[in-house]
Symmetry: C2
DNA sequence: CGAATATTTCTGTCTTTACAGAAATATAGA
DNA sequence: TCTATATTTCTGTAAAGACAGAAATATTCG
């Protein structure tokens, strides 16, 4: 890590810590940070040297990043080694991460909540009335979030960003309209 | 856990697994799930029995949930024991979670990115030009997200939900407007 | 104040995850 | 095909996190 400029070290370390708070392996996040700020694709050995982690660790972490779809393999002419580069566009990056998290976490939760709602609906025990209502409201919320995601994901980046920028004005006008 | 109806068991177990994927302790998430679907506040001993975890574990997990602000202590007349209840409104629940995550994760990242941007700005080494640009675009993105959060958080729940519901129409109209 | 009960903190164990180094496998060019 | 190089998988160890049970502390009521 000593070879890297100080600001890069700070960024990579912070990104690694952030990762752990979001259930992402520290090394995985650090490698991503390194690739993200790099102006050219790196091969595994370079990543080892820069971050001071074992070759195997880098190999597995890179596979993980490729599974997430935020790092790609590229080949350089006259070089047999795999080189790796991160998605460079920030919005695209988070769009992919959001899509992946939805697929892995929101969607299975929807399935589970629907199954639970079925189970509780079948028993129809009055003692479960409150729990039933709670699960249903939770399900509604996740469906709302899921639908919103789908809508936003269909939009081109520029429109989506614009919508985010104008979030308050839009929501305010809706609020006024509803009164 | 055997005392609980099957759907409740399934929900609690799933919620626990979800938690781990988001960097939240499994037991913490399970206790929250239990309190969320419960129609009355529970005391620590009841939580132990229902989930089959140690008293100390429950104690620490409850403290964690209180730190997040999604579980509150209540006292029942004629009972010395602390009783605990979860925020019951789903939107309010996720509003609080979002606020807390922003405070713990987005805000420190903003601070860090600004510091990095400063550091790289000071050196002004042409070799760092690309990294500088990357960090700046990342910073812009986080500032956008942060601002959006602040705007949305100021809105009453109903308006916010309405804005989410109408997300696609709004964004589409912006998109058309921009062309 | 003292006993009973409730709660937190401490300590050690167990489980899981992270990770290095070695071994095995795969790949490309000679 | 053989050799050099790249990559992945395997294996053991180390570190971190989760958690139970015990001990300590605090609280309430008689």
């Amino acid at each position: 890590m000593k070879d890297l400029p100080l600001f890069a070290q700070h960024f990579i370390l912070h990104w690694g810590e952030m990762g752990t708070k979001w259930g992402i392996n520290r090394t995985v996040a650090q490698i991503h940070a390194l690739l993200f700020i790099s102006d050219h694709p790196l091969h595994a050995e370079e990543i080892c040297d820069q971050l001071g982690v074992a070759r195997s660790n880098v190999s597995n972490s890179l596979k993980e990043l490729q599974n997430w779809g935020i790092v790609k393999v590229v080949h350089l002419p006259g070089d047999r080694r795999d080189h790796f580069e991160s998605i460079q566009d920030v919005y695209e990056l988070f769009r992919i991460i959001a899509a992946e998290r939805k697929k892995r976490e929101i969607d299975p939760t929807l399935v589970r909540l629907r199954a639970c709602a079925n189970e509780v609906g079948a028993t129809d025990n009055p003692a479960d009335a409150h729990a039933k209502e709670k699960l249903e409201s939770l399900l509604s919320f996740f469906e709302l979030v899921s639908d919103f995601y789908t809508k936003m994901d269909r939009l081109p980046t520029k429109s989506a960003i614009q919508a985010i920028r104008m979030g308050d004005k839009i929501a305010k006008s809706i609020g006024a309209f509803m009164k």
